[in-house]
Amino acid sequence: MMQSVHPLAETVARFVWWLPALPLIGFVINGALSIYASAKPGPADPSANGHDGSNIGHGSHATDEGNHGHDDGDGHDDHAPTPRHRFAGITSIVGPGVLVLTFGLAIALFVAMRGVEMHEPFVSTLFAWMPVGDLHINAALQLDGLSMVMVLVITGVGMLIHVFSVGYMQDDAGYPRYFAYLNLFVFFMLLLVLGANYVVTFVGWEGVGLCSYLLIGFWFSEKANADAGKKAFVVNRIGDFGFMVAMFMLFAHLGTLDYATIAERAGQFAPGGVVVTAICLFLFLGCVGKSAQIPLFVWLPDAMAGPTPVSALIHAATMVTAGVFLIARSASLFSLAPVASLTVALVGGVTALFAATIGLKQWDIKKVLAYSTISQLGYMFVGVGVGAYTAGIFHLVTHAFFKALLFLGAGSVIYAMHKAYHATRNHSDDAQDMRNMGGLKKFMPVTWTLMWIATLAIAGVPPFAGFFSKDEILGATFARAHGSTLADASLLGMSGSTVLYIVWVFGLAAALLTAIYMTRMMLYTFHGPNRTGDDARPHLAEAPWVMTGPLLVLGVLSAIGGWLNLPGVITDLAPIGPTASLEHWLEPVVGEATARVAGGGAHVAVSTEALLIGLAVAIAIAGMAIAWARLKPSALVAKSAAAPATGIQRVLENKWYVDEAYDAAIVKPTFAVSKSVLWGGVDVGLIDTLLVNGSAALTRFFGWMGSQLQSGRVGTYAWLIVIGAVLLLRAFARVA
């Protein structure tokens, strides 16, 4: 495939396979420590007394039931400090250490890539994995602009979250296990983004799903957490089905699953053809599952049952964005399928607005962020759906910064709340409910400052990161409504232009709601009077430096992340930085596809673009102002004293009853059919009675017949011999 030697061949890129290998080594070491510790419990091992709870951040809010379900601390009535895991020291070095090394390598690769002119991806083939007939699948890693961006985000943000976890999880009984899972997750995630073909990506795709399951159910001794893990796993299976069907179809029609070859051969498909549209829609089904879009978003809020750093890393910054990455990776296919692309954009837009409405009325601080994540993922899908692949990836990156910051900040708050409640032996109040917080600015100034930065970023206030990326998506949506291939297509009886305008309006509305619910969250958490309780209040304090340090770094990134891809209209006005550097960086990967979608005509005048930017800023400011004016933190009461919500508020608080609807429409009928037909009919009737017992009875019958032959009477034997001889002779006579 590579005629000439790739310019990266002799550089540090040779060692690209060390990127996934390093976290894998970390996983092996931490996993071995965890297994050893549980196999041979030492005298100082907290897991030796048979309770597997955690002391901090024990969020168990799969259901919005009242009590914070922490069962920990019950074994420590004397309030002695919980002994740390006996391997905590070595794990604290190995776990984040491998990520530091990986990030260092990623930086080295980035520098090497900047030094060369790259027109085609650098593919490092490790070994031939599945050479079966026409199917040639190599275990190969691919380094190009797109995977480099993802690797930097994953290793960079991942490293910060690993460091944060050292503080957050310090007293947990499953400390090495936690880091083993986290390292394994990074391994699979890197495999996902580095894979040179769909199959390697799929391995990573499934692997991160597994790690997500393991980490959601990390505190598995509580059923709600284990159920949340199962829910995530099952819902993701639906998406994976789509992914696999897409792979089968790709192989059937193109005969390959390598990204590079697919990009070459994609021209074989007729633009807008049925096959390529079907492939893209099935791929998108996989993305909908993994990236929690309508209708498969229900698992992500429940996934908040995992430790908060996990929510930050997996369920906000990296794994859930894998769907966006996959579409950008398959840009050569999606750009040929306008209907599929419109579907992506529409689903993304609807999800963005829908999730934002739910976010308005959640009380659990992590739930707010979870719905915010779903909403922001919707934006990314709008971006990649309208063919603005760079914009989608740009928002992915900035979102990774500010959403990781928000989650880690929330983790810091929960940590403080939990410590306070733990110190006062309060096991009934919820450490994650915003009604129990309030006024925390006084106790946690660093967290407060940084979370405001993130809030401004996500709300889209310039010059913070989210402003640029979100504006670019909305601007691209508006621009594509005229003259692009998308505008010419139609979806659900509407013209492409109409769909794109609808998506654009949804995006603006979601931006308004985002500003409102984020301001609400900040107000209720950090402002107004404190509602934690008089006993617990003196125990509230800022988190240690190991947790605030990563927050600080993310805060800086959230503030200046927009410089990655400054729009021309701004750099023309004020030369504050390079123009569209991310777009140039991704040009070899998605440039062709972007141009194909844009079709040459999808541009708006500079004045219109400036107007759009002004509109976006106005909406963000308006949202925050509305929230600031309408919400009165002082009027809130602690959760235990709160009155139940009514009307539309109650509908929003219950997340539009989507879970209940799914329960009634899918889960209950499935249970009923399983119970009556599959269990009662198929399992008991067919399998147990007929097949299992039936085959046993048949065997016994034949055995009985055989035993009748063994009568022990010589006469009978003589008869049988003669009958046999007669039958055999008959066969011989026929042959002869």
């Binding site: 003669v722 009958i723 001889a725 007669v726 002779l729 008959r730 011989f732 006579a733 002869a736």
Partner: protein, 182 residues
Amino acid sequence: MANEFFPLFYTFHFYLFGLVALVGAIVFITRKSPVAAALWLVVVMAALAALYVLLGAEFVGMMQILVYAGAIMVVFLFVVMLLNLGHPSELNDIRGKWGRLAAGLIGLALVAELMALSRSAVTLSVTLPARPPADVIASPGGVIGSIADPLFNEYLLAFELTSILLLVAIIGAVVLAKKRSA
């Protein structure tokens, strides 16, 4: 040889001894007394020996008389008398009506199959040659020599092994039939 010169005489004796063998066999399996049955079997064997001679296997015919009729059947008779069989309960050892019917049906099927098999295996065009095969005639040792040649050349090992078989049989018979000494 006889058929060359007296074909009618030969044919008559062939059918005569064949008939004797057939009738003797039927009578043999229907006798109640073991002694009578054994004596009728001797008759069958003698008739078969005559047939062997008529078929040009004079040596085998002699062996039939000596070994079968002379030795083996005498051993049978000897055992029958040694055990002093002939008790009324033992005399009535033939199976009932249904058993005989079933055996007859199986016999019919068997004989039909054997006939069909022999007819298909040996085509009708192959008939008994007028003369014995050339190797029998040309053998310098005469009739015995024609058997001796393959027996002691081609089948020497098998022949020697039969001696071991007989030795084992003798020892086995002695061991089995010996009275258990207390």
